[in-house]
Amino acid sequence: MSTSANTNPSAADAAGRSRGKAPAGEKFADWADGRLGIYSLAKANMRKIFPDHWSFMLGEVCMYSFIIIILTGVYLTLFFHPSMNEVVYHGSYVPLQGQLMSEAFSSTLDISFDVRGGLLIRQIHHWAALIFVAGMFVHMMRVFFTGAFRKPREVNWLFGFLLLVLGMFTGFTGYSLPDDLLSGTGVRFTQGAILSVPVIGTYISFFLFGGEFPGHDFVARFYSIHILLLPGIMLGLMVAHLILVFYHKHTQFAGPGKTNNNVVGMPLMPVYMAKAGGFFFLVFGVIAAIAAIVEINAVWVIGPYRPDMVSTGAQPDWYMGFAEGLIRFFPGWEINFWGHTLVLGVFIPLVLFGVVLAAIALYPFIEAWITGDKREHHILDRPRNAPTRTAFGVAWITMYLITLVGGGNDLWATHFHLSINAVTWFVRIGFFLGPIVAFVVTKRICLGLQRRDKEKVLHGRETGIIKRLPHGEFIEVHEPLSQEQLYTLTAHHQYELAEIGPTVDENGVERKVGVTQKLRAKLSNAYYGEDSQVQKPTVEEYKEITSGHGHH
């Protein structure tokens, strides 16, 4: 691998000469550089270092499934007719022949039954969509629990969050396009939820659907949102997300030689080009194989949409399942006053949907405010070393999972022989109680793990070897940790409490303490108080113990 370091660009003549003699590939690169300046770009990025950790590849799962979705989506647009004109079906699927259906549905059937490979591409598209959003979810959790969202990455966290939300809505609009009975029911639910918005809800609904539900327009409108508007924004966000990853350089876990001022790993060219490039094919291969083996969204058995028909087990794709859960468990509150109706039973879940998502989106800013930390963070936290954050994250996931259960309460009821009413009540209570329990338990576990780490640092690793001492006492031999391990286990930073400070200054004049300041001190105590973190071992403690009990 010869590099451009051999050529000396300082003298224009020499450069011109050496460029003239270069082999074809280099010549082309020179040509491009003269117009695009690719060498400066490559200098900064070609040997860019990426640390090796499996969890750092989760974002790639998202990016690759997004690319797969775009590729297969473009193919599907060649055959799909986004039209709600009613047609009589005469295609290959016998149990629907002669049925009245929209052109959207009938063209979906044609893709599935009459276009060779159409079914495969449809299934890849749908499976990739489910995996895309799942990937974003897992990726976000990885970033959250390791504290990778801290300065300087807060903006990138927001970009990622927006991608998740837009991904959910892109998925939802796509799911609605075939105009089948299941997705139509989902669209009806959306329309009902829009109607619940006070004052403007009815108008939004009429504008979105071009009149009363279902009308003749929503498939065409969802289509342009699904294939153009939202993916366009997402593509931009994804590029920005990636640029920032390159610009910030990747975070890494603490370890020997890994500091806040460096990044240790393998260079992009060639190792990560092969690994990341290869991973694209691996992801695509896995999704293609899944699409070969497992059926998804068999719209032909679901049938065309009719607003007066429905099937039991009507659920959205998983990423909207938590919205479904919220709306299922909420009580039917409705207030009538002055000729108006406030549909709280639908509107509050709609607001909660946003609040739950916003809670996780805004978290980095809240934590930064509590810690008051203005430094850059490139070393990742182990989740146990940030017990309150980890506990908050687990509580959030718990709430999310409980609402997911609520979204599938009928399937829980039938498959576990429960009463659907009991499942719904479980969700109603669990929604509030579950996160609290999860928070307390997680925090305890984190503190326990911190203590174990401290123990390990101070007393060494338990070897499992039992030794009898001359005076008869049995002891387990502890093996002292290597310096690498000691460093890794003590590298994390522990915050001091944010103090309000004396309320009376040196002149005896009372200082006003703001509510936010008090709140911050309280939260800081909850985060970094005695009950919320185990003081990591100090060098003095270590020396005292190792010198005292050296014979262990």
């Binding site: 049925q99 039954f113 489910l130 299941l182 099937s311 659920q315 998983w318 990423y319």
Partner: protein, 269 residues
């Protein structure tokens, strides 16, 4: 008529015509053949009622009362008709094992002859729907597409798109329709067992029922094709989501671990 003329040239038209012909022949046969036996039937009928009553008193009377008048443990059977008995006993639901939200389908306790006798006895208590003849529930020649639409309008709300079943209130459920015989499907629609509403011929005609049966045979039969692959229980997005998470994300994470893991070092070998 436009529909018909359009379909006349369909490749399956010949098959449909053939099926119609077969059904017609079969129908004619059953219509004419039993006529000669009609006289013998009267005595056979009263014998059956006698036998049925005996079976009833042993197996059913404790809940439904000695005369089928019903008790607190079981509803009256007067007027439910032979079809209800054939369905309830023929699918093993009756005799019930224990009280509960719903009596489940289980192993059948009686043979068909005994069931027919009990049905005859219950039918003698009061007029009700008779056990359908094969002619009535045989879906040959019925239109599965029409049946599909009827199914989505009348049945799918409880039994799911293809009859996988679903939840009702307080622990009750609409059972899955896999492996249910055509006769029992017909009887269930006709009689409305347990909490299922009935769909008498006056609101869901015999032809309608046949169409529905034809549809179910098509989409939920043993030979049903699921073109895209495993159907994951046919329960829709919840199971698909679980699959995407467990197998999709699961396998991708395993692969990511392989991609990012260190290659074995020479020293350790």
């Amino acid at each position: 008529m436009k529909k018909l003329s359009a379909r006349r040239r369909h490749p399956l038209a010949a098959v449909v015509v053939l099926l119609f012909a077969l059904a017609a022949t079969g129908g004619l046969y059953t219509a004419f053949a039993p006529a000669s036996k009609a006289k013998a039937d009267d005595t056979a009928q009263s014998l059956a009622i006698e036998e049925g009553k005996k079976l009833y008193l042993v197996g059913c009377a404790s809940c439904h009362g000695t005369g089928g008048e019903g008790t607190t443990d079981g509803p009256t059977l007067v007027g439910v008709g032979a079809a209800a008995v054939d369905f309830q006993v023929g699918t093993g639901r009756m005799p019930a094992q224990q009280p509960g939200a719903q009596v489940p389908r289980k192993k059948v306790k009686y043979n068909q002859a005994e069931i027919d006798q009990m049905a005859a006895y219950i039918a003698s208590l009061g007029a009700g729907p008779a056990v359908p003849t094969k002619n009535q529930y045989n879906p040959a020649g019925a239109d599965a597409a029409v049946g599909g639409e009827l199914f989505r309008n009348n049945c799918a709300q409880c039994h799911n798109f293809t009859g996988k079943g679903g939840a009702l209130t307080y622990g009750k459920y609409a059972p899955g329709l896999e492996g249910v015989s055509n006769k029992h499907l017909y009887e269930a629609m006709q009689t409305g067992p347990q909490n299922m509403p009935s769909f008498p011929d006056s609101v869901l005609s015999e032809q309608n029922k046949k169409d529905i049966i034809a549809y179910l045979n098509e989409v939920n039969g043993p030979e049903t094709t699921t073109p895209g692959g495993m159907e994951l229980g046919g329960l829709g997005p919840v199971v698909e989501g679980l699959f995407a998470w467990i197998f999709g994300m699961g396998s991708l994470i395993v692969i990511a671990i392989w991609v990012a893991a260190r290659t074995a070092k020479a020293k350790k070998s």
